[in-house]
């Protein structure tokens, strides 16, 4: 059998999308070939633990993949300054991806750094010829990344796109894309995913979310990154591993 590996990957490019957010291309043909949308990688920095990032895109021809990194601490702060040629240790692809094949059409909802894994999902759906609609929700115009003119854009401040949350964006969608043959994929801050999960329930639609937790190993051996999901036991829940059992979960099973 072929064993999974830990890779040394060199940085092929880095583009600053925002003042604190970088789009980084890493060289790794294996990951570019095998990664599925919704999966993530663990990337080393000089701190003790690796940092997990959803895969934002793959380029199978050049054997590279992309991650979006927002600086939220010393580790990510270091990673957004990586230069072309720098090397990092990478573990991946990790976790379970989205099911982007079983439904007739998809609504992709994202905000914050959730736009990155959702970008990979859009790339996949585009290449497989599926119908999909993208809704993006941000705080204000200064946070908008990876937006395209065809996307439904919302901002809390209303300084660009529709004023309101991603829910306001979903409410503008044509009824025909919101049927039970359509599935919602949502990645963003917890309040967004929780609200979108409720919206999906009201529209009798299946909704999958990608959860984020503080992680250590990323491969399911430490049990540090738990997500509470409903279970038929005396507690009514079970703690499952975000990294190994997720990060993608059926939103109706998550205890928010």
């Amino acid at each position: 059998m072929e064993y999974k590996k830990e890779y040394k990957c060199s940085v092929l490019s880095r583009e600053m999308l925002l003042g604190d957010t970088a789009y980084i291309e890493l060289n790794c043909p294996d990951i570019a070939r095998t990664a599925r949308p919704g999966q993530f990688v663990n990337v080393s920095c000089s701190r003790f633990l690796k940092r997990p990032f959803g895969i934002a895109s793959v380029d199978r021809d050049s054997g590279s993949f992309f991650i979006g990194v927002k600086s939220i601490g010393s580790g990510t702060g270091e990673i957004i300054t990586l230069d072309r040629g720098d090397e990092v240790d990478v573990l991946g692809p990790l976790g379970n991806g989205f099911d982007l094949d079983s439904f007739g059409s998809y609504i992709l909802v994202s905000g914050g750094t959730g736009v990155f894994p959702v970008n990979f999902a859009a790339q996949y759906l585009e290449s497989s010829g599926k119908n999909f609609t993208v809704v993006q929700g941000f705080g204000d115009a200064s946070q908008v990344v990876l937006n395209r003119p065809s996307y439904v854009l919302t901002t809390d401040s209303g300084d660009c796109g529709i004023k309101g949350t991603a829910i306001a964006g979903l409410d503008t969608l044509d009824k025909c894309v919101c049927g039970s043959s359509s599935c919602i994929i949502c990645v963003g801050p917890v309040p967004m995913m929780k609200a979108v999960s409720g919206w999906a329930l009201n529209h009798s639609m299946k909704c999958y979310v990608s959860m984020e937790q503080r992680m250590a190993c990323g491969v399911g051996i430490c049990l540090c990154c738990i997500v509470k999901v409903k279970a038929d036991n005396k507690d009514g829940f079970v703690n499952v591993r975000c990294c190994k059992d997720g990060p993608v979960f059926d939103s109706s099973e998550v205890i928010w």
Binding site: L49, Q213, I221
Partner: protein, 304 residues
């Protein structure tokens, strides 16, 4: 004669490397990364009589050269383990070490009696008297020499399996609890579990971990562990399994010189899941280049 095989009392191990409890689950996840049969052994996730959901909220906090965890012994319970995981652990070819945790003496007794019936599949019972993340049992028992001796002597009568007692460093003098384990009839002691620590988010003035405190592990704790192994080696007659921040072959050798017959690798698995492969290769090379059997290193420390 060069060799990396070792013995911990009556238990032969093909290598001194054992995956520490709580850092390999039951082996399935790591089996995708390398051939687990290269390992000396694998210690299961800490098990309890009934399933445990573990602690809520944030369970990990990064610290300098290490990390704090407060998982809180999340596990499926011993019955589920026997039914679903024990055969798999045995099939890996690594020695099967089952980590036994409990709230009270009766829990430990019940678990040991139950596991004793599967002695053909189990090589060692590792008695967890050191988890710092639960409110009762474990470290509470493991900090009191009288309680350690009393419990181990009860367990000794309950099973013929080798008993290794994993001790906490959160005591004034670990020699007292190690000697108590020996007097109770332990076959070996495992030194050390994590050091109790705390990390505070200075913006919120709250602990990062929802359990407030957690167990500190990783390279930062290695000098503490080496010191404790050395201290205990000087007073014990039973073997020691060293544990604490080991991440390379030099660390293994250092622990063996201090007095360890074998070692457990914990946090390093979480950073580099394949690290035992490289460490094993390096140990084989060391053994060959120095024409030494690794077991000759045990306790070879020359104190000033």
């Amino acid at each position: 004669m060069s060799s990396v095989s070792v013995k911990v009392g009556s238990v032969p191990l093909k290598s001194p490397l054992i995956l520490a409890s709580g850092t390999c689950n039951f082996g399935r996840e790591l089996a995708g990364y390398y051939d687990l049969s290269i390992l000396g052994g694998m210690s299961s996730k800490g098990l309890t009589v009934n399933p445990r959901a573990g602690n809520s909220g944030v369970r990990v906090a990064e610290a300098d050269s290490g990390m704090l965890n407060s998982v809180g012994l999340q596990n499926p319970g011993v019955d589920y383990f026997i039914e679903h995981d024990l055969d798999f652990m045995k099939s890996t070819g690594a020695a099967v070490i089952v980590n036994v945790a409990g709230h009270c003496f009766d829990d430990y007794l019940e678990m040991c009696r139950k596991l004793d019936k599967y002695s053909s599949l189990i090589d060692v019972l590792e008695i967890n008297l050191s988890c710092p993340n639960v409110k009762a049992g474990c470290m509470t028992i493991g900090s009191d020499p009288e309680a350690v001796k009393h419990l181990v002597s009860k367990l000794r009568k309950a099973t013929g399996l080798p008993l290794w007692v994993k001790l906490t460093p959160n005591v004034t003098d670990i020699r007292a609890t190690a000697l108590a384990a020996q007097e109770g009839g332990a076959d070996a002691v495992v030194l050390i579990n994590t050091l109790l620590g705390m990390k505070i988010d200075i913006r919120t003035r709250r602990p990062v971990l929802n359990n407030n405190t957690g167990g500190y592990s990783g390279p930062a704790v290695k000098p503490v562990a080496v010191r404790m192994v050395s201290e205990c080696y000087q007073v014990l007659d039973i073997p020691i399994v060293g544990c604490g921040g080991i991440s390379c072959a030099d660390d293994v050798i250092e622990f063996m010189i201090a007095g360890s017959s074998a070692v457990e690798i914990g946090t390093a698995n979480l950073i580099h899941p394949t690290c035992p492969v490289g460490i094993t290769e390096d140990l084989v090379r060391y053994s060959e280049e120095n024409n030494i059997s690794l077991s000759e290193l045990t306790g070879s420390l020359k104190l000033w």
